[in-house]
Assembly symmetry: C2
Homo-oligomer: 431 residues x 2
């Protein structure tokens, strides 16, 4: 098929008629498909059912050090869990705090704490006239929701194939003391599936922020979420790199087992410097007596160690790989060479990012919805829900069964074609 840009008005009209006919066929199918969120599918959840047997009434619910997990205490998490999560995060257990069921909640609390009490003795952000965050975009909508909720001004930074545009990041943080943080999903990013290059990570570790309380919010949500066994992205470990660069306190690193075991019933964690940990513990001990140690122990007994967890992630990959590959091949088959969209082919994570022709994203998503396929709202991947070029769409291929996903993706390509054709015809004055 030749690129749409090279087609005559008659060819475009003919193509549109065909696409619309196809669209009506999908409408007749009465679809009810959901590709909105990056959630594991039922088969993936089934992988962790064994965790329900990891603890039973015949077991000793004590840790190796004798701690009874059934009662109060142990603010920062049991040692076994720190060790397991430390291996997962590539950090020393001493640098790790284990929290409750949600790393999003940990990030929220981290911002909230900075608002009311400040970071390491600095002025609480709520006492400042202006607080800003850098938001590499497209990015994760729930990150942006937190900063928006606290009235923090969000500054969009463009993503490149190697991570955020570091020239811009370096310049802004050095110039403006009101910039207190940056949201990062450094590996298999949401939504593009990009992993930050070595150079990007090194430049992050060497930032010279004007604000002493600037922190990198390093949400390594997909650190072990590979799609392939050997063809994997590698990310330089940021805490170690910051330490080497003489910036040990620069980063808060987050992770959880939400997409490893059960979302909502996993364990969340933060890795950071001992100085930052001490700062955080001062607040944590007012907020709670401790998090759910039984669930921590349950995770440890289920996985045993990092090898167990790695093998478990291979099973996730076996379920997800065909879904990603199928979406990519349908996109290629139906849109390849047309010049009306580009997309990513990540080697891990939960999303494929699609960029339509400028001004088309909202229309594509609306059109898909009208045929029964729900997608992440266009714009959601940008601060304030506003994609300046209205082109980015997040595709979440993990949840629907393979057959549904095939149908939904095919319909999606039809919607992309219709919207592109309409735009081109309008531009030709022939709409």
């Amino acid at each position: 098929m030749k690129p749409y840009a090279e087609m005559s008005v008659e060819e475009l009209q003919e193509e549109l008629a065909q696409a619309k006919a196809l669209y009506r066929k999908y409408q007749d199918m009465d679809l009810h498909l959901d590709m909105r969120r990056g959630v594991p599918c039922t088969e993936q959840l089934d992988l962790s059912m064994g965790m329900m047997d990891a603890l039973d009434s015949n077991q000793d619910l004590r840790c190796d050090d004798g701690t009874d997990c059934r009662t109060y205490g142990v603010l920062g998490g049991i040692h076994e869990a720190k060790e397991l999560i430390g291996d997962m995060m590539e950090n020393n257990p001493d640098n790790i705090l284990i929290f409750g069921n949600s790393s999003l909640n940990v990030m929220y609390d981290t911002v909230a704490r900075a608002m009311t009490h400040g970071i390491m003795g600095n002025t609480p952000w709520c006492k400042l006239d202006s607080v800003k965050f850098l938001c590499p975009s497209p990015g994760y909508d729930r990150h942006f929701a937190i900063t928006e909720y606290f009235g923090i001004e969000m500054i969009t930074v463009p993503m490149t194939p190697t991570g955020p545009d570091m020239d811009i990041v370096e310049k802004l943080v050095a110039e403006d003391e009101a910039i207190k943080g940056i949201w990062c999903v450094p590996k298999y990013s949401n939504p593009q599936g990009i992993s930050y290059s070595d150079e990007t990570v090194r430049r992050f570790a060497r930032l010279k922020p004007a604000a002493p309380d600037f922190r990198i919010f390093w949400d390594n949500a997909y650190g072990v979420h590979h799609l392939y066994d050997t063809n994997q992205d590698y990310l330089i470990e940021i805490l170690a790199e910051c330490k080497r660069a003489g910036n040990p306190d620069l980063v808060y690193k987050f992770a959880s087992t939400s997409k490893i075991t059960f979302p909502g019933s996993g364990i969340a964690s933060m890795a950071t410097s001992l100085n930052n940990l001490e700062d955080i513990r001062r607040q944590m001990r007012i907020q709670t007596i401790g998090h759910d140690k039984v669930n921590q122990l349950r995770h440890v007994r289920f996985f045993n160690d990092i090898y167990g967890l790695t093998e478990h992630m291979r099973k996730h990959a076996d379920i997800l790989r065909p879904k990603f590959e199928m979406v990519e091949s349908i996109l290629e088959e139906n849109l390849g060479g047309l010049g009306i969209g580009t997309w990513t082919c990540p080697r891990g994570g939960y999303f494929i990012s699609f960029d339509a022709m400028p001004g088309c994203a909202k229309k594509i998503v609306a059109r898909a919805q009208k045929a029964g396929v729900k997608m992440t709202p266009a714009g959601a991947t940008f601060p304030y829900g506003k994609d300046p070029s209205d082109s980015n769409i997040r595709i979440a291929p993990t949840y629907p069964p393979l057959e549904d996903l095939k149908t939904a993706t095919k319909l999606f390509t039809v919607c992309v074609r219709i919207c592109a054709l309409q735009k081109l015809l309008e531009e030709n004055g022939a709409a």
Copy 2:
């Protein structure tokens, strides 16, 4: 034994010599006993081991309404859990939010939210020059720690046998718009084991606070924690009473299963008006995708219903009752009639409150500690850790085994006697 106040100096000296000899005997026993915190004992924890079998890999982890508990979603808790906790809290499930593992965390978050975002459209507390809380005392040290952490000024309100002194409460909240809240443990209070009288609850529901964002923080931590099967305290349900009084939004009510199943691995909840719930949900949906539904389901399957939970609490009572009764009888036997201390005999909860002669509490606790018995620090039951009369001591009889508790309590009475005798001798110029 005649009251110490009626003894001659010689008698006091003789008595002191005997008490000191007794004290040395305890010192020689090399005791290591801990009565600091209100934590369940191992036997109590064993009661809930069956909960570890309530879910296994052969079970369907779906709710009655089809919700898969293994994945994201359901911000406010699964319906089954709201029903069970609703029955426990005597509230409509619609008025209930289920949270994570700690009601303390829920209270902290509630104050934090008011600080940064205000309550129902009112000015965020962090923007105000002065924010104050009323603190009925003696009370719960972790409550006071939260308000202190946020720089909220704490005003001590005396406790009476029927609850906080309501004349003072009514006057202060009506006069001062800076007063935004009051901490209450309305049933089997911490540390006195007092349950608020009907009149007290009714007066609470009818408060006319100057501040529209004044809220009662009603921590009903011991709502079902009776020691006796029929000889139980009854508390008027505050939400219903507030509604009847035309003050539906006046109260946040908290509870948890921490001292029902496993502390740290239970479920926490709040009951409040629909207006308050809506206000809270606006923040919660930024903070988290949802709490641990698997653990909610685990609790529901373990208890089945409120009858199951009630029967379970009888087993707790069977373990705790002898401990409370033993402590009370040792206090009576060794201190009764001496006029040097008073104590409460609660019908539920986790504490006995002891009032020594003014100026003696710190010395008694220090002396007990020197003989190997750790008690809650004197003063902890008052704001800023400062008991103006230095007389209140919280006794936590639940954790130690019966024999240890007997020894510790006997030693405690010896310490009380020594400190009282020294004080009286000092007053007589004979120290």
